[in-house]
């Protein structure tokens, strides 16, 4: 990777992505080989918003590389509660650790933090902005099942506020991928992401109904539509209900369609999909460990 930080998926070239995925595959095949690789390293986890998978998988990844983590803890128990700026918090933490994983509710927070520190910053979610390490594990999972070229991907749900969607869309422009975005009108991709996809010359289509594209898809990436995005419960129920999938609906899909989801899901993927060969979302979550091991390994070496 040319950069010292991972702030957005836009900064990643195809070669950068393949380097991480190849390294991740090595670690997945032989986890023991990495056991003492970064035994002298400490990774700081600064999560200003709740997280289960991202935080635990970074912690697992660092420990599997032989290093350790220090955890800022919840915002309620930190100096942030006293009004400390993000710039100050990260400058202090820089003195404690060899790298910082940052999740923060404001867009652009990782970019800002990166301007104040020299240790690598990994953006683990900046509001409705980006979540590039999730994208790397998404790509790892897609590559395992369908490859990353000459495929059609449907990305469905909350495309406006979904940071995993934004990062995935950016990264896919490096590959020969037809991207189909399926959402209600009110949750379409934001202008900034559409602008970038257009600039990158991506093959993009937008749809309001999954039926329009389901049968042509190799991958269906489902995201959660959040209740708080809608003015009232009735409107939410109406819209969310149209973007749920179940085993019956997938009868109309290719036999080898991969269904993915960054998790947590609520009811957008019915439990009966879990038992089908389409379900890859738990495997996707598990891939977070080797992929984040690879990412940290490369960032620490650069």
């Amino acid at each position: 990777m040319r950069q010292d930080h991972l702030l957005t998926a836009k900064q990643l070239s195809r070669a950068d992505i393949e380097a991480v995925l190849d390294r991740a595959a090595e670690f997945a095949d032989d986890p023991a080989a990495a056991r003492e690789r970064h035994a002298d390293k400490l990774l700081a986890l600064c999560f200003f918003e709740p997280s289960t998978r991202t935080k635990m998988s970074f912690e697992t990844a660092m420990k599997r590389l032989g290093g350790d983590v220090i955890d800022m803890g919840g915002v309620e128990s930190s100096s942030v509660k006293k009004g400390e700026s993000l710039a100050d918090t990260t400058r202090v933490v820089e003195g404690y650790a060899d790298g910082i994983v940052l999740r923060h509710p404001m867009q652009g927070s990782a970019q800002l933090a990166s301007e104040f520190v020299d240790v690598p910053i990994v953006n683990a979610g900046d509001g409705a902005g980006h979540h590039p390490s999730q994208t790397l594990l998404d790509l790892f999972t897609i590559r395992e099942h369908t490859g990353l070229d000459d495929i059609s991907i449907g990305i469905m749900g909350d495309l406006k506020y979904g940071r995993t969607v934004h990062s995935l869309a950016h990264a896919l422009t490096n590959f020969d991928v037809r991207q189909h975005f399926v959402s209600p009108e009110s949750l379409r991709l934001p202008r900034s992401v559409r602008y970038d996809l257009h600039e990158a010359g991506a093959q993009v289509r937008e749809h309001e109904e999954l039926d329009e594209v389901l049968s042509s898809l190799d991958v269906l990436y489902v995201t959660r539509i959040q209740r708080e995005r809608f003015p009232d419960e009735e409107e939410y129920q109406k819209v969310a209900g149209e973007y749920q999938i179940d085993a019956d609906l997938l009868e109309g899909a290719k036999d080898d369609l991969s269904v993915m989801h960054p998790l947590p899901r609520v009811d957008e993927i019915a439990a009966d999909v879990d038992d089908t060969t389409h379900a890859h979302y738990f495997e996707q979550a598990h891939n977070g460990v080797p992929v984040r091991m690879a990412l940290l390994d490369i960032l620490f070496q650069s």
């Binding site: 009004g83 700026s85 993000l86 710039a87 923060h104 509710p105 404001m106 867009q107 652009g108 927070s109 970019q111 800002l112 301007e115 900046d126 509001g127 409705a128 902005g129 202008r191 900034s192 602008y195």
Partner: protein
């Protein structure tokens, strides 16, 4: 110099910003951070007849030669503006404003979830696009009503 501009006043030394889009003169002063507190004499002409633009605004700042870098940001709201540097009542330099690559600290980001709207020790930074500007932090694109976001 036209008769209309002469009505405002001729300056001995300083900068005349001519061909400003009609109605934008006060925004020009705001962007340049000129509010009179620096003691410089400032004259404004608003909605002055113009052959080229129909109507235009004119801003004259006495005793200050504004740099091209300071002035290029004006291209966002007054793309036709021309800059005259005046010494001893003569125009010694005449330039057009050019679109800058970046705008630092002049605009505030309209995205309330942008980190630059928190109490952080950074200036805003926008990249200038063909059509609008884009926040370097949250990547929000502003195309409409740029003057609503002038923060000086």
């Amino acid at each position: 110099m036209t008769e209309q501009e002469l009505r405002v006043s001729k300056i001995e030394n300083g900068t005349v910003i001519d061909h400003v889009t009609a109605g934008e003169a006060l925004h020009v002063l705001a962007i340049l951070g000129i509010d009179g507190s620096g003691g410089e004499a400032v004259s404004l002409g608003m909605n002055v007849p113009s052959e080229r633009l129909g109507k235009k605004d004119v801003v004259k700042v006495e005793g200050r030669e504004l740099s091209q870098g300071e002035l290029d940001v004006l291209s966002l709201i007054a793309p036709d503006a021309s800059i005259n540097i005046i010494r001893d009542y003569d125009v010694v330099e005449k330039n057009r404003v050019e679109r800058p690559e970046h705008v630092l600290g002049v605009l505030s980001c309209p995205n309330r979830n942008c980190i630059t709207n928190q109490d952080e020790p950074v200036q805003t930074k926008f990249t200038v696009l063909r059509d609008g500007v884009r926040c370097d932090y949250c990547e929000n694109i502003i195309r409409e009503d740029l003057t609503d976001h002038i923060d000086v």
